[in-house]
Symmetry: C2
Subunit: 192 residues, 2 copies
């Protein structure tokens, strides 16, 4: 799978079940949300706008995706509503298209723009890393099947790692529960 195919497979409407584990407090909070991901072509006005915001030539963009979410998080018996939207744009490295810069219209827990990096492994696991002087965030995303996406995240601040989370995401509208369609798991197939 190449990085564009990975984003194409991500497009659609997903039910996401999220658990965040607080490493220091050794406690967990759970959330559920609906996520819609829409593929954006390289010449989409939103892709061009984000490139310009980062002072990057829009011709270098491979594609983009627009993500909107609507959900709730339960923490200490109180329920919190969360809604938002984010645009991501891929700027591949010129010599290695499976890795590059990832532009985000919204940073991690911040309202400011953050440049991060992406790398798609040959085991079809996508790693996204965002980092600045105050935080480090690492996402790992892969498809267990076309209709079941796994997403983990770890967050670090100046005191060290403080949160790990897992989202299991089921494609809405697909036959439920999601099936494994491939005979050979991708991770093993690659090495065979």
């Amino acid at each position: 799978m190449d990085i564009k195919e990975f984003f194409e497979q991500s497009a659609g409407k997903w039910f996401s079940q999220r658990t965040s584990q607080h490493l220091e407090f050794r406690q967990a909070e759970n959330g559920k949300s609906t996520i819609v991901m829409e593929m954006l072509a390289a010449d989409d006005p939103e892709v061009i706008k984000l490139c310009q915001q980062y002072h990057i030539d829009p011709k270098l963009a491979l594609c983009g995706t627009k993500i909107t979410w609507d959900g709730t998080i339960v923490w200490d018996k109180t329920q919190q509503q969360q809604r938002g939207a984010n645009v991501l744009v891929l700027i591949p490295d010129s010599d290695k298209p499976h890795q590059g810069k990832l532009l985000r219209s919204m940073g991690y827990g911040k309202k400011t723009a953050v440049v991060s990096r992406y790398a798609l492994g040959r085991d079809d696991i996508l790693t996204l890393i965002a980092e600045d002087e105050t935080m480090y965030s690492e996402d790992r995303i892969w498809f267990a099947s076309p209709n079941l996406r796994m997403r983990t995240n770890i967050l670090k601040n100046s005191d060290g790692f403080n949160q790990a989370s897992l989202c299991s995401e089921i494609r809405l509208g697909a036959a439920s529960p999601p099936q494994k369609v491939e005979e050979t798991p991708s991770a093993i197939r690659f090495y065979s």
Copy 2:
């Protein structure tokens, strides 16, 4: 990192915080446990015994590990104690040592022996796959730092995928909270 180094880094005592998400019921259960992992040399009596049990020449074994755990799982407000031990032995493919067979003294949720496969990606993510006619289990394990290990699992039965879980595992005895010691994340470093 090679597969032996991966297991060497896994050795020690870990605090594991586990969350299992039930995909169909859209509910989660949480657990905590202490895990001890002990590296076993290729000529360790327990490694030889497991090879013989599987009718595999013990000379083909690279190394092994003995895992013991003691913990609790909270499900529907009731608490369940879980204790156990498992021995794993690596039998690398002759031409590709980063992948091969994984022998287990105990199968997934079964008391019978199960042969599974391992593959260590160049992004230092270890994938373990166990499969028979009734179930499919896929683990993905990696180190966020030498003292923070991440472990995910997905389980599938004849009805499709039914469970996803995350364990964040903190090395006990290490400076707490665990620090990111490497300047460049492994996933990105590999591709650079």
